[in-house]
């Protein structure tokens, strides 16, 4: 059993009681809500005649259903309009702070909370969205919950949960040029498998992780869930503190030093005990692309799609399903696969640094004529910053469409969807069957830089070839 890790310390601090069945009642320090998984929870509160216990511990924004072309109200899509109206009404009625469209702070919930300084080390954070693990980048214990648990957090600020085991994933050395956090996390998921994280929290550590910026760390923790780990985290350090400093909701003045002292104290101790430790060499990671229908089915850009015999018996069934669905053959290259759509955005890779990297590749280049390319900033703040830096113009000049913030084609709950069996090069997080809105649409996950390279060439490309002087 793990001891003295950040996870143990934060869990113990937030434990309210041991429940009769053996699980723990855990206090949730910060609860984030959005329009998709909260309406039924508010409905259940009403049915049970309960109030929101601590409205000041919940923050709302709208992201999944928002259109990214025309955001004027009412939305063209009646169902989407009904969902945003329901959230507006619930927040008003229960006095919950809501960052609506046009507030300057709306966006994907996992982009917005860190930007506002809401996400801080040592907190427990829950949200009805599996990518809540993103916030673990700050040394918080953050995990996705379902709607019944959203109801429980609203009503009690606590949930019933079994304590997780802790696996440390130690990443040695440094990522090489043209290789990004997205490549590293895809590599990790490929090595460990998509279900290895069940029952675990992942602690990402080591020189390669220390080297990453906060936004890159968010990309890593974001995709913990794709490796089966509901929660992923990184111990806080100077980069964490300086990212938070001066944000809207950051501790101010005399409280700042207090905060830092406490944040320092909740890091995993040097003599921490883990349930499991995995080590890997980050310098060996190549730009990575998925070829299948799970985020674990990925290869380096210069590798071949595996033969069935190369895979463990457990992975063969889903591989066969993937070959059939994707129309790829075992042993084929992924490089030079033609793409129809290029999408940059999502809670995985829709932040300002992601847009900067992609814009650098796209500068003075044109999107291939048959490719539809669009970029969806992760939040209003990201969009404003990008415009100040002129990134929107670089995207537009290259032929990318510049859109308004939201989740967009990561899960295609708005009108941004693949058509038929189109192939998308996507900076998002899931390549599941039908994920991007068409029941036979195909998704290749990769870093934003790789999406930009694919957009220019009209086919899967090695972004490092754009970087040679």
């Amino acid at each position: 059993m793990s001891q003295n890790t950040l996870f143990d310390k934060v869990w113990d601090l937030h434990k309210v009681s041991s429940l009769p069945g053996g699980s723990d009642q855990i206090f949730i320090g910060l609860h984030l809500i959005h329009e998709v998984t909260s309406p039924q929870a508010f409905g259940a509160l009403k049915d049970k005649n309960l109030k929101v216990k601590f409205p000041e511990r919940t923050v709302a924004t709208v992201d999944h259903i928002v259109p990214t072309d025309n955001q004027s109200r009412p939305f063209k899509d009646n169902l989407a309009e009904q969902m945003i109206e329901t959230l507006e009404k619930n927040c008003l009625e229960h006095k919950i702070r809501f960052f609506n469209i046009g507030s300057g702070n709306q966006g994907i919930v996992h982009v917005v909370a860190p930007e506002l300084g809401l996400t801080q080390p040592g907190m427990t954070i829950a949200c009805g969205d599996s990518h809540t693990s993103t916030h673990g980048a700050f040394g918080s214990i953050a995990f996705g919950i379902g709607t019944s648990q959203v109801r429980d957090v609203l009503a009690t600020q606590t949930i019933a949960m079994n304590k997780l085991k802790v696996r440390q994933i130690w990443c040695d050395n440094k990522l090489s040029k043209g290789v990004y956090a997205k490549d590293l996390v895809l590599h990790i998921i490929n090595k460990l498998g998509v279900k290895a994280g069940a029952g675990f929290a992942y602690e990402f550590a080591g020189p390669a992780i220390d080297e990453l910026s906060m936004e890159e760390r968010m990309t890593i923790c974001n995709m913990s869930i794709e490796g089966g780990a509901r929660c992923g985290y990184i111990n806080p350090d100077e980069k964490t503190f300086s990212y938070i400093k001066n944000k809207l909701c950051a501790p101010k003045n005399k409280y700042w030093d207090k905060a830092i002292t406490w944040w320092d104290s909740i890091k995993s101790d040097e003599n921490s005990i883990y349930d499991d430790v995995i080590k890997l060499d980050a310098s060996k990671v190549e730009p990575t692309v998925t070829w299948g229908i799970t985020p674990g089915q990925s290869i380096g850009i210069n590798q071949k799609i595996p033969l069935l015999d190369d895979l463990s018996p457990n992975d063969q069934f889903i591989a066969e399903e993937a070959f059939e669905y994707m129309g790829f053959n075992p042993g084929q290259s992924i490089k030079d696969t033609p793409v129809d759509v290029c999408f940059i955005g999502s809670c995985t890779n829709g932040r300002i640094s992601d847009l900067r990297v992609a814009a650098e590749v796209l500068k003075d280049k044109k999107v291939y004529k048959e490719v539809k390319a669009f970029v969806v900033p992760g939040s209003e703040k990201v969009a404003i910053q990008a415009k100040q830096e002129g990134l929107d113009m670089i995207f537009k000049d290259s032929g990318f469409q510049w859109r308004e913030p939201g989740c967009s084609m990561c899960l295609a709950m708005n009108s941004d969807k693949l058509i038929g069996n189109e192939i998308s090069a996507s900076s998002s997080n899931r390549n599941f069957k039908g994920r991007q809105g068409s029941p036979n649409g195909r998704t290749l996950l990769m870093s934003p830089a790789m999406v930009a390279a694919a957009a220019i060439n009209g086919k899967v490309s090695d972004v490092r070839e754009f970087m040679k002087k």
């Binding site: 053996g22 206090f27 009690t156 079994n162 909701c249 295609a412």
Partner: protein, 207 residues
Amino acid sequence: MKSKFTPPIGKITQINGQCISLIGNDIDTDRIIPARFLKCVNFDLLGESVFEDDRETLKGSHPFDLEENKNATILIVNSNFGCGSSREHAPQALMRWGIKAIIGESFADIFYSNCIAIGIPCFTLSKKSIQEVQNNKDNKFLFLEIDLKNSLAKSKDLTLNLEIKESSRKMFLSGEWDATSTLLENEDFIENKLNCLPYLEFNSPIT
């Protein structure tokens, strides 16, 4: 269409019913209920759309479309079932279609806790046992009697030792799987916790 849906309530000790097999690893919640069906403010109509895209692709031969399965209540699955999105819409859709319990090789964490929270017990069995059940020639008429108290499933000629997290099993037997009221019993502890969290001292409330 099936008979009117009534949600489970109170103690869950016994589930008897016909099995329906769904073969495949890593079946994610986007497949169980595609995102376009999440545009709703209640769960009422989700049962009709469960596995919509997979069913459409198989044009009538999906297990959820076979006449012989229409009264099935116990779903038999393989490994990492319910991975991906945290959408509770997935188990809600299964439940509204008629599923009352799931037996599988393994489940994704969030899906598992969503099932427990809405009263669907999820049991695990070894890969070998699952395959035995799924390959059973009489499978389409395999009826199981699941006994939560002893974690056993029995049919005419089959006895399976099911595994389930002890905390979940106890919650079903006591009826406390619907956690809100249990959590609320500790109201004083919750207030105390709020007052002793260091970060609440150095952060001003969000208003």
